[in-house]
Symmetry: C2
Subunit: 242 residues, 2 copies
């Protein structure tokens, strides 16, 4: 008796308070586990899906695709995240969901999620809330990239990532995997790989972080937060009663 949504339930419960019944209804949902190689597109623009992608292992990104094919990543999803929960309400994708690393994905049927959401309005609200957390992160990120330089953007990304990884894995990690190439990070941060590399170097030189084979260690958390003017409020990590 495997319970595909076990990890996602943790995620949901970091933001919503559920009853035993609601919890049980989510855990009862079954979903096939699939594996994908890095760079594989899980969902492409125009696709009409009937399942949502729950990340079990690896890193998944959401990106906008421009005419010409260049991409810009607008969300990062870590294990426990439902990468395109949106698709439950809007099955036709306008963006790309991509495997940024090798990953394992539960394909959770929309049907099942909708059924649980309509039977238990509290779950519906919790799922809605989850997409709002995603929106809140985007809103914050818009303000960061439209007003801050690359240094602050990277700092903000690292602060956010370390907290999100911490919430998912337990404990605020100062060392965490960030298994993305500079190329991929540049698509997140909105800078060229060259400039990104320079700024990373300057952060290392300043003794604020170290990087080793795509593993990041934050040496000076306070200064990193100061550079980013980071305030974690927007991550909506206080559970709200349903």
């Amino acid at each position: 008796m495997s319970r595909p949504l076990a990890r996602y339930l943790n995620r949901v419960e970091s933001r919503s308070i559920l009853s035993d019944e609601e919890r049980g209804a989510l855990l009862a949902i079954d979903a096939p586990l699939k594996r994908f190689n890095a760079r594989w597109d899980l969902v492409r623009p125009g696709d009409d899906t009937n399942f949502a992608c729950l990340v079990e292992e690896g890193l998944v990104g959401r990106a906008e695709v421009f005419a010409g094919g260049s991409r810009n990543t607008t969300a990062l999803y870590i294990p426990g995240d439902m990468a395109d929960l949106h698709s439950v309400a809007v099955p036709r994708a306008a963006w790309v969901i991509t495997a940024l690393t090798d990953c394992a994905i539960y394909q959770v049927p929309h049907e099942a999620l909708r059924k649980v959401a309509s039977r238990y309005p509290g779950v519906g609200l919790a799922l809605w809330r989850d997409t709002i957390a995603d929106a809140s992160i985007m809103s914050k990120w818009i303000s960061v990239i439209s007003r801050k330089d690359t240094r602050a953007r990277i700092a903000h990304l690292l602060c956010e990532f370390s907290i999100r990884m911490g919430a998912a894995m337990g404990g605020g990690r100062s060392t965490f995997d960030l298994p993305l190439t500079h190329e991929q990070l540049s698509e997140v941060v909105g800078a060229t790989t060259v400039h990104l590399g320079r700024i990373f170097k300057s952060l290392r030189d300043a003794g604020i972080v170290t990087t080793d084979r795509r593993r990041v260690t934050v040496l000076d958390r306070d200064q990193l937060a100061r550079i980013a003017q980071f305030d974690s409020e927007y991550l909506l990590l206080d559970p709200t009663p349903t």
Copy 2:
């Protein structure tokens, strides 16, 4: 018998197909109409609201506030938009909702919306879908500001605005009000007022738009769309069956 949500119903029905019953349930909701002066904050970070702000008249913005008080606008809301529909699921705001111009707002009780949503799952899905459209706009905007210059950002904003105004008011308008100061626009576009002014001038000089007392006329829609690489797909304006 006034029906505060009449206009919002149009908005919802541009994205979702509702039954007569569901339509009636939304129209039956009552809400007080309030007026606010430009620059008034309707909701501030940390506020716990029990109503959502339905824009009846005027322009409303959502902004992130940095330590120090500087703001960055991450969404514009026009008449017919529910400015902080999010608050139905997440009552505690992490951002500011501001009156960008003098405006009239229906304060729609969360209670009523939640009740309708839980009684009619189709309405719940439609509301959820509405916040996803908001998210889709943000995702697109992230890609625009992280990869395009100010010229393209402005072009994109104008394209989007003209379509959204058109959908709300009927017919794709090539002339529309954009009653924002350069100061306010710069907080949307992520540029200084100085630079924004220069680029606007260059767009005027190129014969692409004209501006007259905060009224914009698009003279060359094709070229504007080309500059912005605009594709309206992300606005999610095809109704999805519930």
